[in-house]
Amino acid sequence: MAAAAAQGGRTGGGGGSSGAGSGSSCGTGSSRSGLLDKWKIDDKPVKIDKWDGSAVKNSLDDSAKKVLLEKYKYVENFGLIDGRLTICTISCFFAIVALIWDYMHPFPESKPVLALCVISYFVMMGILTIYTSYKEKSIFLVAHRKDPTGMDPDDIWQLSSSLKRFDDKYTLKLTFISGRTKQQREAEFTKSIAKFFDHSGTLVMDAYEPEISRLHDSLATERKIK
């Protein structure tokens, strides 16, 4: 099984590098967009340190996101991520206010403002913790499928994953929420990360993409049967 994955990795790597080569030759047309093309490396095969758990999880998550967005042409909804970014930005804003106020009015005149900022900061930290534990719940993608007729509300696909520390079992869960009936269906798989990465740490999309498609189709076909 590992040998088959390595074979797939070599052919996948070859296909990836030829794609990158054609991309760079197209970029010589206009210099400004060419620089941006050279910066973005969407076509380059993902290569990470295979012993770094968080890098492995991030690369698997990003690739699953790419499959859903590019292959099935769903639209990503940034609401959840934006909420977290807003809370963090407000917390940093309180910290900056405290810093500048203390610099302008030296202690102890700044005591009340400082106390207010410190308490607000830790309250925001609490809100952030509650938000990530209960609202976000390790979901890293919320995608909408726009209804072609334009009448019914969108169907929502949610991806969430987990990879325990020092463990090799990666669990990916796909949740489908129908726009019309508001019903929720889930499918998940748990596999060892060794099935998707080769010896050098390159993610083999040929082994990973069928898994995602299988999850997706298992949820989609149920809908068609209804």
Partner: protein
């Protein structure tokens, strides 16, 4: 042709992820800053944790010890207590013991300090013409200290003491 492989992770991120990385770093810095400011508010001192820089308080405090200070208005300064004070015009605070206090009816005090390990009191350190310290010079009073394990005793770092 740029071939900086270590930047690959950054190049793969979209705008939101980049902003989140910046925010993450900002949050770490902000947490440390807020804890420090919070300590300042709770203790009432502008520098709640200081490091002993010289050996002028041996054998009580040695170089490198951490001192925890408070500066509450309702705690009066008494003889024998260890205070951290700043002399006008000098940046670095000094940790010494209170030797003498003159106190008025309205609570205004002036006091004299001396380091335990020094032969004379601190009048030589004060500003030209200043003979007493006042409440406004005080950074805080020592409430607790933390001493690290000293495996090599009496290491000489006198080139760092700056004459304190």
């Amino acid at each position: 042709m740029l071939s900086l492989d270590f930047l690959d992770d950054v190049r793969r991120m979209n705008k939101r992820q980049l902003y989140y990385q910046v925010l993450n770093f900002g949050m770490i810095v902000s947490s440390a800053l807020m804890i420090w400011k919070g300590l300042m508010v709770i203790t009432g001192s502008e520098s709640p944790i200081v490091v002993v820089l010289s050996g002028s308080m041996e054998p009580a405090f040695h170089r490198g010890d951490l001192l925890f200070l408070t500066n509450r208005v309702e705690d009066p300064i008494r003889v024998g207590e260890i205070v951290v004070f700043r002399i006008e015009g000098r940046e670095i605070p000094i940790v010494h013991r209170v030797l003498k206090i003159h106190e008025k009816q309205n609570g205004h005090i002036k006091f004299l300090t001396k380091g335990d390990n020094n032969a004379v009191d601190d009048r030589g350190l004060y500003k030209q013409g200043q003979h007493w310290l006042e409440k406004k010079d005080v950074v805080g009073r020592a409430r607790g200290f933390y001493q690290e394990n000293r495996s090599v005793k009496d290491r000489n770092y006198s080139f760092l003491t700056l004459g304190l």
